[in-house]
């Protein structure tokens, strides 16, 4: 039972550590409700969390959008923020510009974008300096993925 055409939007505030993770958590609950395979939910949940954290840590504000189609799921994370000057460098494991405070809290391991890449089937990043960043991640649903 899928709900093709379903679109959910969640806004995310930069710097709001207390609420961080709530959008990803709502996405996870929505996918569970429509009966998506647990393994797929796990991948989407991890990727969505990292995308949400990047808005909290690195941008001013943004949103997470979940799109449900027949055979795939899409998570879009777009923000108003500084943009990513060098995407290839940012994709490297361990690269982080997170603040000291964020690091003390256990963020800023530089593993967010690598985790997003690992968990999604395709990922594209569009970014403009001083404007913002848009990350689009697609997740295939296997034949037996959705019941």
């Amino acid at each position: 039972m899928t709900t093709p055409g379903m679109v959910l939007r969640f806004s995310v505030e930069g710097g709001d550590y207390a609420a961080a993770g709530e959008a990803a958590s709502k996405i996870k609950k929505a996918l569970r409700k429509i009966g998506v395979d647990a393994g797929v939910i796990r991948r989407v949940a991890i990727a969505a969390y990292e995308a949400e954290m990047n808005i909290v840590l690195h941008a001013l504000r943004g949103r997470l959008i979940l799109e449900v189609a027949e055979d795939k799921l899409r998570v879009i994370a777009e923000d108003e923020g500084p943009g990513i000057p060098d995407v290839n460098l940012a994709m490297q494991e361990g690269f982080s510009t997170a603040s000291d405070l964020a690091r003390e809290m256990g963020f800023g391991a530089g593993m967010g974008l690598p985790n997003m890449k690992k968990c999604s089937d395709t990922i594209t990043i569009e970014t403009t300096k001083d404007r913002g960043t848009k990350v689009v991640m697609n997740f295939d649903i296997d034949d037996d993925g959705v019941t």
């Binding site: 993770g21 958590s25 996870k28 949940a45 969390y49 990292e50 809290m105 963020f107 593993m111 985790n115």
Partner: protein
């Protein structure tokens, strides 16, 4: 191993999830970096950490962890506790240093095999 045994082995206390001590624990992960946990901890595992802010609850919830075990006497604030209660996340706390707690759990796991 279930959470009751985890509590015994690490002399831990239950902070939230009093009724969940029968919950099965499929393994353990030790890290204070949230993205490292996101990328490597498995479903049903117990996570040992000294991070105590409310994002620990978000991570435990998203990964379906069996529990988060705060080590070295680290204690969560009331926001974290409230969030864990609301979401059904189990929080445990031990005054043992991380190495000691992990060592005891590792030994208990190998004795079970």
């Amino acid at each position: 191993m279930n959470l009751k045994k985890v509590l015994e082995k690490t002399e831990a206390r239950i902070i939230t999830g009093e009724g969940e001590t029968g919950r099965e624990c499929r393994g353990f992960y030790v890290s204070d970096l949230l993205s490292d946990v996101m990328g490597h901890a498995g479903e049903g595992e117990v996570w040992l950490t000294i991070q105590t802010h409310s994002n620990v609850v978000a991570v435990a919830l998203l990964l379906n962890l069996a529990a988060a075990l705060f080590t070295a006497g680290a204690g969560p604030d009331s926001t974290t506790i409230e969030k864990a209660r609301a979401e059904g996340v189990v929080l445990l706390g031990t005054s043992l240093p991380t190495f000691e707690a992990a060592g005891r759990l590792y030994r208990a796991l190998t004795e079970e095999e």
